[in-house]
């Protein structure tokens, strides 16, 4: 347990000091990479809620990632041009305020998740995988054909969101904001995994039929998880569009859905730190392999196959098992 605590605080200290270290070593670009890793970890945390704790294999979570990104970009664009986003049935102006745009992104994703979830959860197993994929494709093509907002070419964010006293254009400040959000999400995961909601969700994952017989209204619980999950991934998308200052249908591509899935599984499904570990490793692998060869996918693909065949509990799962054994 002490080792685990040491690891936690060591990791936290490293994360907090990272911008200073990077500055000292002249590796300024590292802050950007770390921000990117954290954002994808946040998306992983969102997916982990339903995949790791709820056993729902969504192959379409990039839909929320992209939707969240588009909401921020579109609102900002309307703000820039001074045109309202919509005028009927009531007028909604554009905004570049993080405090408005980011919750709006989460809300839009929650609503989308409510609709997608309500339909998808009627099915199960393979059909669920496919229908979530199909919904993501649907949104993908929706944004591809949405010429008003760039269509295939995507949409630039002319300026990162305004966040009160913070200047998000400063890499370190943006990094810290993302870090705080990820920490909150991690803490929330740790809490609700052990709260009544989380236990019910895990019970459903392990044996839904039994849960119904015990008296749980399981669909409601699953749908709630799906909506929360969509909102978190939407927030990650909102952050990512701020990071890249650009959004395109590629945000919603099925490859992106696969990537988030890989991050969660590689890191360790149903563990608090799994998605974070997964995101770190995913990027390290990409970094190391792509320095070796530009065709790094040719190595990464088979590695993924091997990981699925031989290391199912994921990296954090392995670490956690080691720590537990040491006591």
């Amino acid at each position: 347990m002490n080792l685990r605590r040491a690891l936690l605080f060591g990791g936290l200290a490293f994360a907090l000091l990272l911008p200073l270290l990077a500055g000292a070593l002249g590796l300024d670009y590292a802050v950007g990479i770390a921000t990117r890793i954290l954002i994808l970890a946040l998306a992983g945390i969102g997916l982990n809620l339903i995949l790791g704790y709820g056993g729902m294999i969504s192959f379409g979570h990039a839909a929320f990632f992209g939707l969240g990104g588009y909401v921020v970009a579109i609102l900002s664009r309307h703000e820039m041009r001074g045109e309202p986003f919509m005028t009927w049935p009531f007028e909604v102006a554009g905004t570049d305020q993080a405090i408005l745009a980011w919750p709006a992104a989460m809300l839009a994703c929650a609503l989308a998740a409510l609709v997608i979830g309500a339909i998808s959860l009627r099915t199960s197993g393979l059909y669920f995988i496919m229908i979530t994929l199909a919904f993501a494709q649907m949104l993908f093509f929706f944004f591809v054909s949405l010429e008003t907002y760039g269509g295939d070419d995507g949409l630039s964010l002319l300026s990162r969101s305004a966040a009160g006293p913070l200047d998000l254009h400063d890499p370190a400040q943006f990094y810290y904001l993302v870090l705080v959000l990820v920490l909150i999400a991690l803490l929330a995961t740790a809490r609700w995994a052990n709260a009544r909601f989380g236990l019910a969700l895990q019970g459903i994952r392990d044996n839904e039929r039994r849960m119904r017989a015990l008296g749980f209204a399981t669909t409601r619980t699953k749908l709630t998880a799906f909506v929360i999950s969509g909102a978190i991934v939407g927030l990650a998308g909102a952050l990512m569009v701020n990071h890249t200052e650009f959004v395109s249908p590629a945000f919603l591509s099925w490859q992106r859905s696969g990537e988030i899935l890989v991050i969660v599984v590689l890191g360790g499904m149903g563990t608090v730190f799994g998605p974070l570990a997964g995101a770190v490793v995913f990027f390290m692998l990409e970094e190391v392999l792509s320095q070796w060869t530009q065709h790094w996918m040719v190595i990464f693909g088979p590695l993924l196959v091997l990981a699925v065949l031989f290391a199912k509990q994921g990296l954090w799962g392995l670490v956690a098992a080691k720590l537990d054994r040491r006591g």
Binding site: A195, R196, L199, R210, L214, T218, T224
Partner: protein, 251 residues
């Protein structure tokens, strides 16, 4: 006889040409242990499925505690006090024994949308759960993950979970399935201890268990109940013997 707790009338369910349940009538008094026996394929599992709410009957009525529950979903039946245990052990393997039972308590305590408070430190869930474990003699194993429990212990845990929903009637689908002699005997003792407090509908092939426990027995053959009565009556019933031993040969 006292007002019946569960009353089944004309329950019918067919799969294509095969009528698995053919106009079944059944009633169970409060506190009664009622066994349903019969050869494989007689429709016992289909019957339990319909009572629990997993299968929708083609026709017929099920009423429980005086109210029609024929079309209620499973979780609502459970809330009314109709619990079920499974033929194939289905505990939650990753959870500890106590977690398993606490989850069953939570099913009716509600609060499934509490996201923050640690449910594992919630005495309103843990205390009743622990009491149920004590009742089935598993208190010493409370912290052991369910997957590590021996098969017999898992069946005991299964029973504790059914009890934790505070039922008035438990549907027991082969509680001694897959158990050796000693475990079977222990389970029978356990169930005997509950007699009179909770009504039970028992589907079981182990006749020792059936005759040790049942107040009344219904015999199902080919989707129909061909006899209902006290154990000695059923044992003496020639039609039952014939059906059970297959002595219907046209020699």
């Amino acid at each position: 006889m006292a007002e019946s707790l569960l009353k089944v009338t004309g329950l019918t369910k067919a799969y294509g040409a095969l009528v698995a349940c053919d106009g079944v009538d059944l009633d169970i008094a409060p506190g009664e242990v009622h066994a349903v026996i019969g050869p494989n394929g007689a429709g016992k599992t289909t019957l339990i499925g319909q009572l629990a709410g997993e299968l929708r009957p083609d026709s017929g009525r099920v009423s429980f505690a005086g109210r029609d529950i024929t079309h209620l979903p499973i979780h609502v039946r459970s809330a009314r006090g109709l619990a079920r245990s499974f033929q194939i052990t289905s505990v939650f393997p990753r959870f500890s024994a106590l977690d398993n039972v606490a989850l069953a308590v939570q099913a009716h305590a509600g609060g499934n949308f509490r996201f923050w408070a640690d449910a594992r430190k919630d005495s309103t869930l843990r205390d009743p759960a622990f009491a149920c474990l004590e009742r089935v003699g598993l208190a010493a194993r409370a912290k052991v993950p369910a997957r590590v429990l021996a098969h017999g212990e898992q069946r005991q845990l299964e029973l504790a979970m059914a009890l934790a929903t505070d039922p008035r009637l438990v549907l027991l689908d082969e509680p001694t399935a897959g158990m050796g002699r000693e475990d079977s005997a222990r389970m029978v003792t356990l169930l005997t201890g509950l007699k009179g407090k909770i009504a039970m509908l028992l589907v079981e092939h182990d006749m020792d268990a059936v005759f040790a426990l049942a107040d009344r027995i219904s015999v199902m053959v080919g989707g129909r109940v061909i006899a209902t009565g006290r154990p000695d009556e059923v044992r003496a019933n020639t039609e039952v013997r014939r059906a059970y031993l297959g002595e219907d040969e046209i020699a």
